[in-house]
């Protein structure tokens, strides 16, 4: 492998993931579920639209999860599969999906950590299946960008960063 592998996220992937997460949010009364990839990019948001900057949130989530992964290894654990951050009103639960993405669940006192943990297990099983299929098909069916894209992107770069 020379660089990091690219992967693509299609319309039908999005439909399946949204379906799984909507079901999970309905069962638990949690507010929002986000999928963030391990490099810090936001992949999907389901439920109440968050009031914060989701791009910054995704980069911090990935950093948080990666730092904890290293801490786990120092303790002799292969990983911490899940993390929980408790606030006075708002809390978040993070769980690994297929070693490539992170499920983030935001919830408040309308539900409990116990219920979130109970219902997240089947949801994680289904998400793992979807993401594993996505990663396995990579490089074979990713359509890439149109050829005219490159020229236009270069023009935009010149405009934004000064010609």
């Amino acid at each position: 492998m020379t660089g990091a592998s690219s992967w693509s996220f299609r319309e039908d992937d999005s439909t399946r993931i949204h379906g799984i997460l909507r079901g999970f949010l309905g069962e638990t009364n949690a507010r929002t579920a986000l999928i963030v990839d391990r490099t810090g990019q936001l992949v999907a948001t389901v439920g109440e639209a968050p009031a914060f900057d989701p791009t910054a949130f995704a980069s911090l989530t990935a950093a948080d999860f990666s730092a904890n992964d290293q801490l786990a290894r120092m303790l002799g654990e292969a990983e911490f599969g899940a993390l929980f951050h408790q606030g006075e009103r708002e809390s978040m639960y993070l769980a690994d999906v297929a070693r490539r993405v992170i499920l983030v669940v935001l919830f408040d006192n309308r539900t409990t950590l116990g219920l979130v943990k109970l219902r997240v297990k089947p949801a994680l099983g289904q998400l793992t299946q979807v993401f594993t299929e996505m990663f396995n098909r990579d490089g074979t069916s990713a359509p890439g960008v149109e050829s005219a894209f490159l020229g236009e992107a270069e023009d935009e770069i010149d405009k934004l960063f000064g010609a």
């Binding site: 492998m1 020379t2 660089g3 990091a4 592998s5 690219s6 992967w7 693509s8 996220f9 299609r10 319309e11 992937d13 999005s14 439909t15 990839d37 391990r38 490099t39 810090g40 990019q41 992949v43 999907a44 900057d53 791009t55 910054a56 980069s59 911090l60 990935a62 950093a63 990666s66 730092a67 290293q70 990713a142 359509p143 890439g144 960008v145 149109e146 050829s147 005219a148 894209f149 490159l150 236009e152 992107a153 270069e154 935009e156 770069i157 010149d158 934004l160 960063f161 000064g162």
Partner: protein, 224 residues
């Protein structure tokens, strides 16, 4: 690993500024943050110590706009330069699409530059990435200082180049940024390639956008 999200029609690319401590990585991002139109950039996040040394990373998302139906975003990251923060540095490289190495031109920092460059190669290799095969640029910062080393000396130490094994790449490539210099050339029977370089004074912004333009164009090329 640039991710193409066909559902939200987004392409996100990750650029990492790497280099020795106090070399000017954060200053590069701050200048970009202050100069880019507010509508084209997000919030800048800095995980820093009380003395403003980078502890984990700085993060700045920049929005290129919609191109052929895709929203294109560059996520700019810096790493902490101090030697003992290597664990954090390595984490930030995960999924990187392009690297800018910010070297400190001061002659006294020559060893720190070389050490940071070796550390970059090692950390990339540990992720399974090959720095010679992804978009990569070197920025020589602090060119305004009286103790700045000559460019030729810095190039020889920090960016000497690597042997090109692939026969299809055995052809001379002129350096588009410097007259009569080359990015790929033949020397003593070997083909050598090296990263493009830029001179900068990040505190005043000189060279900051030249570097960013070059690396972002190289990254966009890899999407085709």
């Amino acid at each position: 690993m640039s991710m193409i999200n066909y559902a939200s029609r987004e392409i996100n690319c990750k650029l990492v500024y790497y280099g020795p401590g106090l070399g000017g990585k954060t200053t590069n991002l701050e200048f970009v943050y202050n100069k880019v139109a507010p509508g084209s950039r997000g919030k800048m996040i800095s995980l820093a110590t009380e003395t403003e040394r980078t502890l984990f990373f700085d993060f700045l998302p920049v929005d290129l706009g919609t191109i052929r139906g895709f929203k294109v975003k560059f996520h700019l990251y810096t790493v902490p330069g101090q030697v003992y923060y290597n664990a954090s540095r390595k984490l930030i490289l995960k999924g990187v699409d392009g690297v800018v190495f910010v070297a400190d031109s001061q002659i006294e920092r020559m060893d720190a530059n070389i050490e940071a460059m070796q550390n970059l190669y090692e950390n990339m290799a540990q992720h399974g990435y090959d720095l010679t095969k992804i978009p990569f640029a070197v920025q020589y910062n602090k060119r305004d200082l009286p103790n700045a080393a000559p460019i030729a000396e810095l190039q020889a130490a920090v960016n000497p180049g690597w042997t090109v094994e692939e026969p299809s790449k055995h052809r001379t490539v002129a350096d588009p940024y410097h007259d009569s210099e080359f990015l790929v050339w033949q020397q003593d029977g070997h083909w050598i390639e090296r990263a493009p370089y830029f001179e900068a004074v990040a505190v005043t912004g000189d060279g900051v956008f030249d570097t960013l333009k070059a690396i972002s164009k190289s990254v966009v090329k890899t999407l085709g």
